[in-house]
Amino acid sequence: MAKKERPIKGAPTARDYKGDVNPDWCPGCGDFGVLASLQSAYAELGRGSHDHLTVSGIGCSSNLPGFIRTYGMHTLHGRSLAVATGAKMANHELNVVVTGGDGDGYGIGGNHFIHTMRKNIDLLYIVMNNETYGLTVGQASPTTVVGEKTYSTPFGNIETPLNPVAMAIVSGATYVARAFSSERKQLTELMINGMQHKGFAFIDVISPCITWKGDEIFDYWKERVNMLEDHDTSDKAAALEQAVKTGHDTQLGLFYHDTNSQSLDQMEPVLENGPMAHQQMGVTPEQGDAIIKRMM
């Protein structure tokens, strides 16, 4: 996985963000489309590839940082948002993008998902939602629909799936979208705007798994997705109304965009002197004296 920064001549292209390792995903996986869109989005943003940090957890889709030419962290299962928050607060000049799957983000990482949104950390979080645990060979995930038979639900799933888009809207995310891995143009645009958005940007990407859901899964979704139209993205209640539509009424697009709220790094006074990682370390003699004085 030699991922050296290539000298970029002229405007960067998606190719400049291609990693040296080819994805190990099953042929036909929705994640290929997400990867290609992310490479295009990074290129479109126009910053040096060393200015980006791609963070993931564990699972099929979490292997993504290895396939892309930016700084990357392939962290523990479910912990990508916490690690990414730490990195962002340490150096808020980095463009930090978090990628992962539905088990990683909505299952084991569910607590971090809620609280990272609540804190409005300036990240772009892309979840490749395939409604299954792919790498552990196809068990039910938090987004698996009722009735579906999987390795862990041989008689059909009886638990209600969660709705990540609705959850994001009510949890405090300030940029909330749903996309489909086959709708590449829309997905790339949502990613670019999400990176440029100052605050927590979230895209739930329907990224079908043909191995555990069968070849017909793409057609299944094509029949069900609709482009969000005539929608006011600043209206939280309207966004929620659209978000709760599922099945054949599933909406794609930007549901909610709050351009007024400040992200945590904008509100944190200790960042006034630049990124923490580059600030002066330690305690000056004057600061030390002032601290001691209060202990005497």
């Binding site: 991922k3 730490g86 200790v270």
Partner: protein, 597 residues
Amino acid sequence: MAKYDFVVAVGGAPGQGIDTFGISLGKICARYGLHVSTYSAYQSLIRGGHTFLTIRISSEPVANHGDEIDLIIALDKNSVEKHIENVRPGGAFIYNEDDVKKAPERDDIQLCPIPYKKFSSGIEDRKLQRRALNTCLLGTTLRLVGAELNVLEEIIIQTLLKRKGQEVVDANIMVATAGYEHAVENFTQFDDKFEKQEPALAFVDGNSAMAMGGAAAGVKFYSAYPMSPSTGVLKWMATYARELGIMVRQCEDEISVINMVIGAAHAGCRAMCATSGGGFALMSEAIGSAAMMEIPIVVINVQRGGPSTGLPTKTEQGDLWQLLGASQGDFPKIIVAPINIMDGFHTMPELFNLVDKYQCPGMVLSDLTLGMGFTTFDPASINWQPEIDRGELISELREMDGEYLRFQITDSGISPRAIPGTPGHIHVVATDDHDEDGGLISDEFTNPHKRRDIMEKRQRKMEGIVKLLPPPTLEGPEDADVTLIGWGSTHGVISEASQMLNGDGIATNHIHFKWLYPIDEDVVNEVLANAGRSIIVECNYTGQFARFLRGETGFKADGHIRKYDGEPFMPHHIVDGTRELLIGKTELYVPYQEIVV
């Protein structure tokens, strides 16, 4: 001047200002240049319940709360009933006479009833009146120990004027003066009195000392989830965050805490967190991930009694094996247990330099006794500007031979570490095992040779670390009959017990371990060769350190003194235990805790 050694204890309900009493008295002692060590026995309640704070005052440095109590102050009726028997004969007992119908019965001590209602009748605000009782009885205390009242007045102004205003200051000074004057007229002072000595000292708790040490070491990121008894580290960090430029974040759980620390450390900050045993358990998986991604982090565990939620407000040295075994697999790590409160300060920069150099997790094993105990220290004795050595850290574009390999195989096991944002060094770090370049060697790329190479590279770092860690210390005569062996927070109490035994004609020395892991078998065995009849003293049931030491070195102790009732050792517990063990009555002595709170 003869050695001054005096123990004051104050009992009351939470909310009665026992901590304020302790901090004020501690600061007064510090201004006199007297040394202090405190221990607070408290309960997990915000209102109601009972707290008993012991404050030992000495003309010499002191690191435990002693054996006997000379003076007790009871802030409520419950404390009168509970603690009247805890004063040594010849001591004194101060209480609010309005609390009790009948005076407590003891004719071998001086009883000091205070008519508080009368003294405070001028305070109109009932809440303020109730709250100033501690200050009134502190006034009486100062008279009995021969301290001047004006020092208390200065401290009242320093701590209350800005926060509470003139009215509160006036009320407190009024009742303090009344308490003091009442003692002048009615009570006898102790023969040994406060005498000023140089230099004036400062007064600090153990959690703050560790936070201060972290700040001095250059910590720029601190995260936490509140958990007793470690929360004091968060409190200090949050208080000083803006003044010192430290990013402080409270998280949804300890899993988030440590993963944020890992992210911040990877991005270039010195980063740390503190918790207690239960929180540490949640952090376990991430400890190994920091080692795998070779990211330097520091985690503090301020131990409390376990297992499970255990004893939230009581002490124990019960997490040694948890730290030794934290996280799956083999990986380089450092475990250190500071031996006293100020050692907590000095340890932090030492540990950060080590973990930065070797790019691995460092764990600090403190406990409630150290973390929530207070001590005095000479401000000139601490170095706010310790050496900061970040090791092989790359944050700028540089000339390179060939390509950058984040996990380059080297003789030392150390691979230069570039932080994100640095041009020319793009790489991925992974919690899956990986080759020199970060490429995964699990999944479809499985390669046993690469796995072996990278595992050996990481573990080679331990060979470098172990050479840098100081050996255990040996105090006392080299050829002693008895050797007391301890680790971490028990240094002060074992040291004093050792001196007492020598005073009684039992030649005793003391071997103490601070750097616990990795351990150099040969070096440690050389120190242990000085041991006489060896007794391992520790605050847990199963002898965690004894088993660890035996496993690492083959050393088997002759006897054991263990305490696991939640209360810390007092010196006589160890002295009594040593005697019992010497006459061969037992191989394991468990002291009886006399003071029950």
